[in-house]
Amino acid sequence: MKRAPSPGTLAFGLTLVTLGVLGTLANLGRLDLLATLRTWWPLVLVVWGGLELADALLRRRVAGRGASASHGEPAR
């Protein structure tokens, strides 16, 4: 079974993609990179935190299912 990527990996990947897009737009003269980063960088924390929460909830749900399966649920 394939393992799902961790929230940190996802946040890192998303950050790289975002930085790449912003850098390209800045090179094209479409935006001021420093001003944009200064405004939006705290979103990295928001996205990362959201992914961590989602990951924690998902793990809890998976652990709950596993527990109910091992406590006498009839196998079908």
Binding site: G8, L34, A35, L37, R38, W41, P42, V44, L45, W48
Partner: protein, 459 residues
């Protein structure tokens, strides 16, 4: 939380901080595409200088009016019959040829209207035409003797010397006015002002810069905010001051100071000295007339006053030395001390004690929370009243002369140990009697402390 995540979080926060710092730094430097920037109100970057000179024939009794911005203005004495003008243009551009072309677009402008000559540059039109170019225009003028000089300048030093009269308005840099035979009017903001050797009156207003005056021949009227003032060798000096300190020496007339948040030190004032301030102290020394000092949250010291003196303060002490006239002292939350008062007076301190030595004249002393100590240097010749609420009253007197004593203490003891004193009534809390025959009345009262009269004093 795992150490790796914590480290990553710190890294993200550090990157955010770095972005913020870089952004603010860029805002501060204000870098432009042409390679120059404004830093601390001045152009910075690669520049090229171009100078042009011209000579304008003028009649006698000239009134010279100079207007400029972003550059210095210097006016000095020149030859009779003409004004020599040097315009130095500094263009901020990386390419010299482009800078030269741009500099050619800025010209000296002058207009002679009777005995009035206006001098300026076409900088305003240039800046409208080339808004992205950094340009400084420095003017150096040499005018005939007896010229009345008016200067309006922004973002550049102004120096005027050897004029008949001067009217200067400057901002964001220093102003220097020297050797002016007549009146001087000066307005300056965000820069220091120096005025020396003025033959007549001075009218000065300054904000956000220190002020220094040396040798003002007429009355000086100053309004200064957010800057220290130093004055030496002036005539009468009238000053409104806020958020700065004054040091005045050799004031040939009256000194009148109305201040806030300002310390005042004045020495050698030939006339009256009247000072009102707050949150800082007042020190007046060698005053030829009366001295009156009122402050809050600051100490007061008066020394060598020829006339009457008054001092009022709170949360600090008052000290007086060698005052020829009568004094009136009121201190809240502080004490008072005096030496060499010649005509007595009233000293009232609510926060600490009252101490006097070598004082003559009728005295009325009162202390709320401290004691009263009086040390005589000569036999008493005037009435003395001393009242202390929460402290002792102590008199050290010479066993000579004459006085009638009435001393009492409500909660303490009264002790009189003076050779030759004859008590007419004596009990632990009340003594009355006299030394010699005649003499002034001495009334001593203590509420919660003792009263002591002993032999001693200064000889």
């Amino acid at each position: 939380m795992r150490a790796g995540k914590l480290l990553a979080l710190l890294l993200v926060l550090a990157c955010g901080g770095l972005i913020e710092v870089a952004y603010r730094l860029r805002q501060e430097l204000d870098l432009t595409a042409t390679g120059w920037r404004v830093l601390g109100g001045r152009f910075q970057g690669r520049s090229h200088t171009f100078t042009s000179e011209s000579r304008i024939e003028v009649p006698a009794g000239l009134r010279l009016e100079v207007a400029n911005a972003f550059g210095e203005v210097r006016v000095a004495r020149g030859e009779p019959g003409a004004v020599a003008v040097e315009l130095r243009k500094v263009v901020y551009a990386s390419d010299e040829q482009r800078a030269r072309t741009l500099a050619e677009g800025v010209e000296l402008e002058s207009e002679l209207d009777g005995a009035r000559l206006r001098v300026g540059t076409s900088r305003e039109a240039f800046v409208r035409r080339e808004p992205g170019v950094g340009l400084e225009t420095h003017l150096t003028l040499r005018a005939p003797e007896g010229t009345v000089v008016h200067v309006r300048n922004q973002h550049g030093n102004v120096a005027v010397a050897d004029a008949a009269a001067a009217d200067v308005e400057g901002s964001y840099d220093g102003v220097r006015v020297e050797r002016v035979a007549g009146d001087v009017r000066l307005r300056n903001r965000h820069g220091a002002a120096y005025v020396a050797d003025v033959g007549a009156a001075l009218d000065l207003e300054s904000q956000y810069g220190k002020v220094e005056l040396v040798g003002i021949g007429g009355d000086a009227t100053l309004a200064v905010r957010h800057g220290d003032v130093k004055a030496r060798g002036t005539r009468a000096l009238q000053l409104e001051l806020a958020y700065g300190d004054l040091v005045a020496e050799q004031v040939g007339g009256a000194l009148l100071v109305s201040a806030q948040h300002a310390g005042v030190v004045a020495r050698d004032v030939t006339g009256d000295a009247r000072v009102v301030t707050s949150y800082r102290g007042i020190e007046l020394a060698r005053v030829g007339g009366e001295a009156h000092a009122r402050t809050q949250h600051g100490a007061v010291r008066l020394e060598g006053v020829a006339g009457a003196a008054s001092a009022s303060t709170s949360y600090a002490d008052v000290s007086l030395e060698d005052v020829a006239g009568p004094v009136a002292v009121e201190v809240e939350h502080g004490g008072a001390s005096a030496r060499g008062l010649r005509q007595g007076g009233r000293l009232d301190a609510s926060g600490d004690g009252v101490t006097l030595a070598d004082c003559t004249g009728a005295l009325e002393l009162r202390s709320q929370r401290g004691g009263i100590r009086f040390v005589a240097a000569a036999p008493l010749t005037s009435a003395l009243t001393a009242t202390a609420v929460h402290g002792d009253v102590t008199l050290e007197l010479l066993p000579a002369g004459a006085f009638a004593l009435e001393a009492s203490s409500r909660r303490g003891r009264v002790t009189v140990a003076l050779p030759g004193f004859e008590a007419t009534h004596s009990e632990p809390s009340h003594v009355s009697g006299r030394l010699g025959s005649g003499g002034p009345p001495v009334r001593l009262d203590a509420e919660y402390g003792d009263v002591r009269v002993t032999a001693g004093g200064e000889r």
